[in-house]
Symmetry: C2
Subunit: 210 residues, 2 copies
């Protein structure tokens, strides 16, 4: 079927949110760990983390200021540091629970049954149950005036990962670590590898590698 702008405008708000969130394809599932610097840990699931560049190592995410990620935004602006923790099939329901609207002084770690992991030199808490996680220093927080969301850009300063999941060429086998994907607002998926493909060149068919 074909839908145009008028059809999209006519949708009920909640229907439109689920519909439009489905369009961009599968999304990353990550828990953002922050602290307010007074001992209050915060944890929020986010599906908008995306790669910006490898050198320097930059990762972006979108935050909606008036939603449950408000504490996350305030904390990372105040402390300049946050962690991103991949959500796995072993704790995806706990991860989703962090999206409930808890007061700022309540720790989503406690409410969701996840364990804060503190690493010397990093002010923000990691999630102990996550098997691929990294700490970032805030490089930019930029308001996107078009819909009043915030683009947060961080530089990766530390990575914690199972060494055996790192392949010889640097790729991390996140499927072997049971990382999940999200579609829409609330659907969680595990994955099965089709294959890795060779670097594409003109007039040569891509091949499966490994």
């Amino acid at each position: 079927m074909k839908l145009n702008t008028a059809d999209i405008i006519a949708m009920d708000d909640r229907y439109r949110a689920k519909f439009i969130n489905s369009l961009s394809g599968f999304k990353s599932a990550n828990l953002i760990g922050t602290t307010d610097g007074k001992g209050n840990h915060n944890l929020a699931i986010v599906s908008s983390v995306f790669h910006i560049g490898a050198n320097p190592p930059l990762v972006g995410m979108i935050s909606r200021p008036h939603t449950v990620t408000r504490d996350t935004l305030e904390n990372l602006q105040a402390t300049g540091v946050y962690t991103i923790n991949q959500v796995s099939a072993d704790m995806w329901k706990q991860a989703h629970q962090t999206s409930a609207r808890y007061p700022a002084e309540v720790s989503e770690f406690v409410e969701a049954g996840l364990t804060p992991e503190c690493v010397n030199g990093v002010a923000a808490p990691y999630v102990a149950e996550s098997r691929v996680k990294f700490a970032l220093e805030v490089r930019e927080v930029q308001n996107l005036a078009i819909n009043d969301t915030e683009l947060i850009i961080g530089e990766v300063v530390q990575v914690l990962v199972d060494e055996k999941a790192i392949t010889a060429d640097g790729y991390i086998d996140i499927e072997a670590l049971k990382t999940v994907a999200i579609s829409g607002l609330d659907s969680y998926h595990d994955t099965h590898r089709l294959a890795r493909l060779s670097y594409a060149k003109p007039n040569t068919n891509v091949e499966e590698i490994e």
Copy 2:
């Protein structure tokens, strides 16, 4: 294992690219369709498409100006319109082939064996083989000075999707349409749904829905 900034800086460039690209989690797999307005169609696979907001319906992507997406960027700036086409398990290898460095006047549709689909009123070509696809008008192209990439924000103006994949609440079952996910630079995955989860509330455990 624990890696810090010095370890990341010491990595070989190609190793680092694969490593850092793995950190953000699963990524969307989309083909970007554009035209130069002189009859030359362009098609490029991109893994950086992400949701920005549902009302207005906004989708973002990151473009590296000096890579194979250069033609895409020039075309969408010149014409103001582009299409995003989800990559499915039926054509993921053809989709990957579009990442080869073809000259501007060569159509990646032809080289990869994919079919341009032209819809009245939309200047950019869709991919006929894609089962969830949408057209966007360019709203912003913003240089991210931190690593000289371009953030492109588009507003969804048309959606083409199998009606039977749209659930009653607006969610599109992109897994049923065989949409794939990407990890790292070159790994493709199909998915299996764990479940959809209910809207999370404090002091109430999330439940599987449907």
